[in-house]
Amino acid sequence: MLDSSTPALQLRGLVKHFARPAVDGLDLTVRSGEFYALLGPNGAGKTTTLRIVAGLLRPDAGEVSVLGIDALADPIAAKREIAWVSDEPMIYDKLTPFEFLEFVSGLWSIPAEVGEARARELIGWLGLEPHAHERCQSFSKGMRQKVALAGALVHEPRLLILDEPLTGLDAGSARQVKELLAERVRGGVSVILTTHILEVAERLAERIGVLDKGRLIAEGTLEELRAQAGRAGSSLEDVFLELVARENAAA
């Protein structure tokens, strides 16, 4: 049994090279039940980091611990606790949302009756009821993203990894998703999210990490980041741009 002091995610000395270093000795900790926003300019290494955590990439070096499980030594056990949502919804055009959620429940070996109850709840929550038995091929980007999110939540993960989850969502849908995420965090789920919509990070995240060139250049609450940037009272956008500019100037 895990106690609440066990981090939801712990990365130590994480390294991943492609043509150039994408992640460069990254240390990062996300606490249990925390909403953590990972920010960074394009190519900073955010998606690579999250793909490593989700078990979609193996790092060249470093350690990945998910809820106390060594994710590199036992990826299957770690994957049971994780859900991954990317900006491109991972769904099947020819399946209906109901069938998609049945498929995902099956992949995570959730008993049929449990999966079904959760699926109905999520479909209702996300306003997908009228379309539950329609093929996803006709869905808008926002609806597809909602189906993907329902798929991520149907197996009740304890660590939710979201890579730009609000891309393509209209204001109403984005609010629905934000409320759903906040509710999950209140229920003890840890969320790690990347976004370019800094207002979302500012409003939802308890702590924010700023990544640049594969390294964490700043981390803390919004107030702590403001202090680090020397921009008291500024918006997260100003703070973020200042921190990245300072890092680039130093490089």
């Binding site: 078990g55 979609l56 299957i76 994957k79 994780i82 099956g106 070996s109 038995h133 329609e134």
Partner: protein, 511 residues
């Protein structure tokens, strides 16, 4: 330099896109392979000319005259080429409707959409002609070399037939579009193009089986009954054959008819082509409700994966039509099986290699869809299921689908010739397994919609898949015939498979 947005300007743009697309397709997108491609093209040209030489020279030496027997053979060959051209043109026209690519940009620009589509229709006609010219050209060259330059008129006939096929394909597709709507047109047009492409070959083969009991489709064109029953020498049916033999006036008439009809179709239909493209984009993704199911069905992970693969395949008529070609070729052996039922067992031997080869090709195609064409690879990879279990489930789904298609034929064979059926079943199993494994070794993520170009991701996989299914077919045929050569051939196929496995792309950990 041509003025922007003119017919010539769009023509240059299309030509550049076509050339880069073709080079990319032939080189698998790898830079620096152009010299190898040129070398392969030269070798191919030499080989196909050599083949044409050996096939044509015996007739050319005897002297080719425009008698009825010659006209029947030439017309038969022309009909075969025409069915291939029509199939290719229909496929291209349908794709022009439904593949958006740059059409949003072009249609939203102030340039004349009519010019764009006119150029695209001309490009389809040229590409259609070119494809058949690659196959027919060597025969024309050899005939011109051995029997005189009059045969070069064959190129003119190919151009006329290409124009005629494209005009017909455009008119037919647009008529279907107007009559049946965009959604049905996509499916029906794909099926019709597959059936037309294979139809003439299979029809000729079927007629040969029914009339002579033999498998060769050439038999029908040489049969005395067909020659005797063919119309007189003055019939317009022989015009294309006469034109190919160098009759200048007939050639001019054919070219006038083909190019004129294409010009009329382009002038009449290119103005509204854009409207159809816009309509296609709106209706392809129309809402489609599935039968309402109230409960989740309990199932193992493997079963869940198998069920998903089968549902995706069943619900995609376009992909079904793409695999239909391979199943269509099973029709002649089925016919032979039916005709010879209860007769001499040797007639069944010919069925074995065809079933075995078709199953290898079918399995390869389905394996590509299941493995490389996975729509949500990250979702499956992030699930707590070992990769081996996912692959095993996908293999089971592929083998299950192949079994559904092939089993009825093998069962029918079992009633007439149990030993031959057992050999066929064994051949089907190893051929399907080989095709599937090759696709797994060479898997590379791709969109399912690019199925018709799956060979571009790996030439080696394509060649290996073809070789293994052909050689397993040969091995099964030898085994069915009781020949010991089968024991020598099987290790050769296994060696090829081992070699293919050895040169498979290594997947770096974490990719």
């Amino acid at each position: 330099m041509s003025q922007p947005a003119t017919l010539a300007w769009f023509g240059r743009h299309e030509l550049r896109l076509f050339w880069r697309d073709w080079i990319s397709m032939m080189t698998g997108g790898k830079r620096g392979r152009e010299p190898i491609l040129a070398g392969v093209a030269v070798v191919f040209a030499v080989l196909i000319h050599a083949l044409a030489y050996f096939l044509v020279v015996p007739y050319a030496r005897a002297g080719i005259v425009p008698d009825k027997a010659t006209l029947v053979v030439l017309t038969g060959g022309g009909l075969l080429a025409c069915s291939l051209m029509l199939s290719q043109a229909m496929e291209s026209v349908t794709r022009a409707f439904y593949a958006r690519s740059d059409l949003d940009l072009i249609l939203s620009s102030p340039a004349s959409a009519r010019r764009v589509f006119a150029v695209r229709m001309i490009a389809i006609a040229l590409a259609t002609t070119l494809l058949t010219t690659v196959l027919a050209g060597p025969f024309i060259n050899v005939l011109a070399f051995t029997d005189g330059p009059r045969w070069l008129a064959g190129y003119g006939v190919l151009l006329a037939m290409g124009a005629l096929s494209t005009a017909f394909a455009i008119a037919l597709t647009i008529a279907m579009f107007r009559g049946l709507g965009p959604k049905r047109t996509r499916f029906i047009s794909q099926v019709v193009s597959a059936v037309v492409g294979a139809g003439f070959v299979i029809g000729a083969q079927g007629a040969a089986i029914l009339s002579t009991g033999k498998f060769s489709r050439l038999e029908i064109f040489r049969s005395e009954d067909v020659i005797a029953g063919a119309p007189g020498l003055a019939s317009p049916l022989w015009w294309p054959a006469r034109a190919a033999m160098g009759e200048v006036v007939t050639l001019a008439a054919l070219l006038g008819l083909g190019l004129g009809l294409l010009a009329v179709v382009i002038a009449g239909l290119s103005a509204n082509f854009g409207d159809h493209v816009v309509a296609a984009s709106g209706e392809v993704y129309e809402r489609k409700r599935e039968r309402r199911r109230e409960r989740f069905r309990p199932a193992s992970v493997k079963r869940v994966l198998r069920r998903k693969e089968w549902a995706l395949l069943r619900r995609d008529p376009w992909l079904m039509s793409q695999t239909l070609m391979q199943i269509l070729y099973l029709a002649p052996p089925a016919l032979l099986l039916w005709r010879n039922f209860g007769d001499d067992l040797s007639g069944f031997l010919i069925v074995v290699p065809i079933i075995v080869m078709a199953s290898g090709q079918l399995a390869g195609g389905l394996a590509w869809l299941a493995v490389s064409g996975e729509d949500a690879p990250d979702l499956v990879a992030s699930a707590p299921v070992p990769e081996r279990a996912v692959l095993a489930a996908k293999i089971e789904a592929v083998i299950g689908a192949v079994a559904v298609v092939i089993a009825p034929l093998v069962l029918a064979l079992a009633f007439a010739a149990p030993r031959i059926a057992a050999v066929a079943a064994l051949g089907v199993a190893v051929s399907a397994a080989s095709g599937t494994m090759i696709q797994i070794w060479f898997r590379a993520q791709a969109k399912r919609s690019t199925f018709h170009r799956r060979q571009t991701s790996s030439r080696i996989a394509t060649v290996a898949e073809a070789l293994s299914s052909i050689l397993w077919a040969g091995t099964a045929a030898l085994l069915a015939a009781g020949s010991w050569f089968a024991a020598a051939m099987a290790p050769i196929v296994l060696l090829i498979l081992a070699g293919t496995w050895a040169i498979r792309p290594r997947r770096a950990p974490g990719t």
